[in-house]
């Protein structure tokens, strides 16, 4: 079974929702047969890469005096999940982070790198918006430093993969993140309670589709040969 999670590394509800999902997954009987894939979704796709600012300033600019209070509200929810959450963190473009997460996916390091990004941004309020910071996290996640640098230095590397993820989210009807999709059959939006994720996993498992058999003579099997029932016909 496959769970795809669209999210952004600066999205508070992605941080909380992904943690809740992982709690549900840890308690799921068939967790060994669940593959989790993180997909790109920039909250602010046009964000100027050079522009990094404190979150409380961004919120105050958008919402006025009540802005910073909104983030403190989310901080209380995060604390309820046992998550450190600092409101003095910064916000900037996440495009390079997403490109790097695609490299990490290719090397089986995606979950580790995303966890480090969440922790660095939300729990430590340290920057994830410079190439130096991203390179450091990539290395800690077990990626080859030269591979990571090569991706960061080439703005086109994995750009199509990021855009494909984002277009796919739109096609599937996502209007915000986190957005969870199980086997392309069940979708959940937002930071649902652990129980909601547990229920969705159970339902999706019990309703797994089975693949239909192929008609004879049209399929090549794992023994390296192709069925041809009437070779002399």
């Amino acid at each position: 079974m496959r769970v795809e999670i669209w999210g952004d590394v600066v999205c508070p509800w992605c941080y909380i929702g992904t943690t809740r999902f992982e709690k549900a997954l840890a308690g799921f009987d068939h967790r060994d047969q669940v593959e989790v894939i993180h997909r790109s979704f920039e909250l602010d796709p046009g964000h100027d890469k050079a522009h990094v600012e404190p979150v409380h300033k961004m919120l105050a600019d958008k919402f006025g005096p009540r802005g910073p209070g909104m983030d403190q509200q989310v901080a209380r929810t995060a604390a309820g999940e046992g998550l450190a959450y600092r409101t003095d963190r910064q916000v900037g473009s996440t495009l390079d982070a997403h490109r790097l997460l695609h490299l990490a996916k290719a090397h089986g390091r995606q979950h580790r790198l995303l966890s480090l990004m969440f922790e660095t941004n939300f729990a430590q309020a340290r920057t994830i918006f410079t190439h130096d910071a991203l390179l450091h996290l990539a290395t800690r996640a077990g990626l080859d430093q030269n591979d990571a640098r090569s991706v960061l230095d080439d703005p086109d590397a994995y750009l199509d993969a990021v855009r494909a993820d984002e277009q796919e989210a739109a096609r599937l009807g996502a209007t915000g993140v986190p957005f969870f999709v199980i086997d392309r059959r069940f979708a959940l939006s937002g930071g649902r309670p652990v129980e909601a994720f547990a229920q969705a996993l159970s339902t999706a498992w019990s309703e797994r589709p089975l693949a239909p058999a192929a008609p004879p003579g049209t399929v090549c099997g794992p023994d390296g040969t192709c069925e041809v029932p009437h070779p002399d016909a």
Copy 2:
């Protein structure tokens, strides 16, 4: 809508079935909203990389005198689809080809590279089993030559991605290829007729699931902010 196609570059029915699928897709009204992803499935995962032999010899070893006739039967079916198909081609390990197809996927060149591999192997009976040959095809597909060489030279590059595709096929119930999955809801095995693919695309389209709305206060929207309906609560 997403169509995933598991197959191998030396699998005759994958060559024929993928061509038939593409004919169905070309006639599908919503083809612009269909993403096609090719996934790895080695017919012979343990194939010694150094061992390359004529297909007719492999078939004769496995099936005796009737072996080569089986491939001639498939050649007639291929001709019926307008496909050149040479029975004097070779067979070898496809692991490196699959690893390279994952690199091509990251750069939006997967379909082009796979088409070149099918053409080189089946229509021209030229080798796709050496690094030189693969490097040449990668360059023709628009990949950066150094990137391609770096992947071919590192036997671990994209190895996990190949294995993940193969494990996913097993989880979904595939016992052979080609194996077509639409939105993880509909599956077809084997080289079905064009009409079968057209019907599957139509059915899947008309039954697309819609994403549920998230409860207020649990989702971060594309404007870069997160809904918190009662910031002072």
